[in-house]
Amino acid sequence: MANHIRMIIAEATREHWGRLFAILVSQYKDFDLAEEALQEAYLSALSHWSYDYIPKNIAAWLLQTAKNKAIDSIRRRSNYDDKLSFFKANGDLDLYDDHLSEHINDDIFPDERLKLIFTCCHPALSEQAQIALTLRTLGGLSTSQIARALLLPETTLAQRIVRAKKKIKNAKIPFKIPEPEDLNARLLLGDY
């Protein structure tokens, strides 16, 4: 495959990963599902894009592909009927529109990254876990990239991320911006 396709995809990772991941987590409320779906979307780009075909709106293509992957994933799990009817009601199963506008606007792509930052930096997670998770989900960095940056063995870092995601899921750390009364403490603001 042409090198320039790889470069486009690498650039798309840097530019869009965090924002797309945040949208997917916001929609499906499931870190693992969102990550898998987005990774599969990027893989799909690797195999489908070519010199003759690169989508006009890369972020839109990736998001729609990721959503399709997510829905496929949900189908494979139990009680998918309930979830499917929920998503149908929210219009998520609409067909992909080939004529999406060139520009990403906030209506179609709400910026959920602020919620994602607060979730990754939740006080119920250790500081080390917060750092690893934020770099991974918002930065779109791979485990090995983060491990190298933090001078940690890759397995240690991988475990840390797995445990953090498990804690978020099992203890139900919410995906949201903190309530006004908690905001000061969460932002570590002084008494102004």
Partner: protein, 116 residues
């Protein structure tokens, strides 16, 4: 989802019975319990008798071993619990911070295991 709030404190930090501080302490607990009941999130809650009343049982190879005391000697000991219905961890943490013993002890928050 239900969360177990486990209340730990060191005996030396607990208000002494029949002092004014103890009276306030009990009042504070009554107020807290009333509040969570009003919110409709109270599932269960109790104070436990002091750790000196604890007995621990283990069964190994069909042998029952009995120990006088808690399963592990710790500085802070389990003094009570609340089981609350909360929508997420933030809500559970919010109520945990309002438990009177949180001022001098520790509250451990654990989500209840759900199967299926």
């Amino acid at each position: 989802m239900q969360y177990m709030l486990l209340i730990y404190s060191a005996d030396s930090n607990e208000p002494i019975p029949e002092t004014p501080e103890f009276g306030e302490y009990i009042q504070a607990y009554m107020k807290f319990t009333e509040e969570v009941k009003e919110q409709g999130i109270f599932v269960a809650g109790d104070a436990l008798q002091n750790v000196s009343t604890a007995t621990t049982i283990t069964v190994r190879d069909d042998n029952v071993h009995t120990t006088d005391g808690p399963f592990a000697e710790t500085k802070e000991t389990l003094g009570g619990y609340y089981l609350l219905e909360c929508k997420d961890l933030d809500e559970a943490m919010h109520w945990a911070s309002k438990i009177p013993t949180a001022q001098h002890g520790s509250i451990e928050i654990r989500p209840i295991q759900m199967y299926g």
